[in-house]
Subunit: 350 residues, 2 copies
Amino acid sequence: MAVEPVVAMDVMGGDGGPKLALAGASLARLRYPKLRFKLFGDQAAIAAGLAAHPALAQSAETIHTDDVVLATDRPSHALRRGQNSSMGLAIRAVAAGDAHVAVSAGNTGALMAMAKLILRTQEGIDRPALAALLPTGRSDSVMLDLGANVECSSQNLVQFAVMGAAFARTTLGLSKPRVALLNVGVEEMKGTEELREAAEVLKGAELPIRFLGFVEGDSMILGDTDVIVTDGFSGNVALKTAEGTARLITRLLADAFRSTFFSRLGAALARGALTSLKTHVDPNSHNGAVFLGLNGLVVKSHGGASAEGMANAIGVAHDLAADGIGKKIAADLALIGPRLAEPRDPAAAA
Amino acid sequence: MAVEPVVAMDVMGGDGGPKLALAGASLARLRYPKLRFKLFGDQAAIAAGLAAHPALAQSAETIHTDDVVLATDRPSHALRRGQNSSMGLAIRAVAAGDAHVAVSAGNTGALMAMAKLILRTQEGIDRPALAALLPTGRSDSVMLDLGANVECSSQNLVQFAVMGAAFARTTLGLSKPRVALLNVGVEEMKGTEELREAAEVLKGAELPIRFLGFVEGDSMILGDTDVIVTDGFSGNVALKTAEGTARLITRLLADAFRSTFFSRLGAALARGALTSLKTHVDPNSHNGAVFLGLNGLVVKSHGGASAEGMANAIGVAHDLAADGIGKKIAADLALIGPRLAEPRDPAAAA
């Protein structure tokens, strides 16, 4: 990316509102001083927020809108009425070439629907997918789809593998990431027909990946693969189950540490050592789900993310934009193109 | 159960072999002194194992067989060749009325296939399901299906809800358990058509349950429902993801505690308080998956369970047998029977 990277921010989304979004942008700018921002939302709120971040104000442009997509809005409602919302305008800025990536902490369903409508699906991809980093045993792994597509064909899964591998090369710095399909067993005959067919295609494809076959939920978490490919239902269930389990254990641990005088003392002594564990499983450290497979980049921040979390999501947006992930995906799709014998998904082509 | 409960044990399954299986049986007998055992497997190995457990030997009968189902055997192979294996004979003892429940730590796929063939599916159930307890935020929750059925109809899911609720009443002692369907969101329009249809039926059914609608992976783990109903693919993925996450955090925690002098000291001081946390997330504390919906009870112990874990699985077997869970399920099915408008699954009826 020769020019300075420009992030189109939906400042109104997320539980923390404009104040938190701007604090996140300000943090991200410290890490990437060349970043520039287009801030979409209520001008007065943005001006008030920017007062605390003068350096950010210098590298940001405000585009006012009264319209906001609410957390409770249905995607269909957002599609009809949200074109001029802060979310819609941020995506449209990417479509128009005025920004390299859009970032929003707003309504996920609405963001996906609007991104798909405005940016359109990339050539060679039938359905875009939501990808993110998951903290695992070795470091982080890329997981997709996280909920954009409840049901998937084998062709969808193969394309997710290509997109996820490109994402891993960019965000994890791997030249040949290990890729596996999430399944209920590792043997070839396990799982659905879609999974078995996708495995067959990936096994034979000459991609810049190391295809491992199937992976189960536990070894996925222990870090046995760099990219986890799955349908949006299982992916969403697995991600939320992992988050819930991490939160449950952290809570039980805190209770245990508080329970006696000795345990309180023990916790105080071990505090330093426990910090890196906390950081590793903190969802804010892995914030920034990316909607892959469109003609333009859209990054979703957790609605409840901290300013640090928002800065991390913007960091992901920066890296992907700077690395030109869309072109990587297109190049890799060309490598497996001839192997895909299935017809295009008619629903996606419509 | 007026008579003494009899457990038919496949002594040859599991990583620990006969020695561990018998140690588990011996522990279980201490908790339930009226338990009697039929031990299926190699006579010499059983005799050697029983020498260490004279009290168990008094309440056990050995039935010798040379045949064993291997961990690597395909279910189809077990069906053809496994009828006289220790696993096959244990299930056949239940079918013949010689035992109330079969327990095995062997090959899960083979166990499910043989149990289904030998015991047959219970009247009113289209497909049996694998259920187990999952450690969650409040205490434990029942989850099913854990992998018996990769794809499920809405009718299957409704029947799983009935079976899971009966299991929760027996094992968790709840008179009206909270039941929810695992989904990617809680709104009515979320997920697959099968889930939405099943929710519709359960919402209107007059069952001894409190139907909550949909639950997501994180709130499931935090304990927001007593029974989690899902297809075998998502259930297996969620269970293994939760296990993997618990193992990962425990490992990171152990590393953190070992890292410095102060953290080692802290860990030593907090040890007592940490024990209950460890116990809560230890898979051995929740050992014993039950194959529900057959004309007879079969309990699967983890292949790698400890003797304590095996004793817990036998405890689950005892409770379910003593409580007559099959009759509870039949009674509840009658309550929703007229509401099921769908045709029976032809594959299951065949």
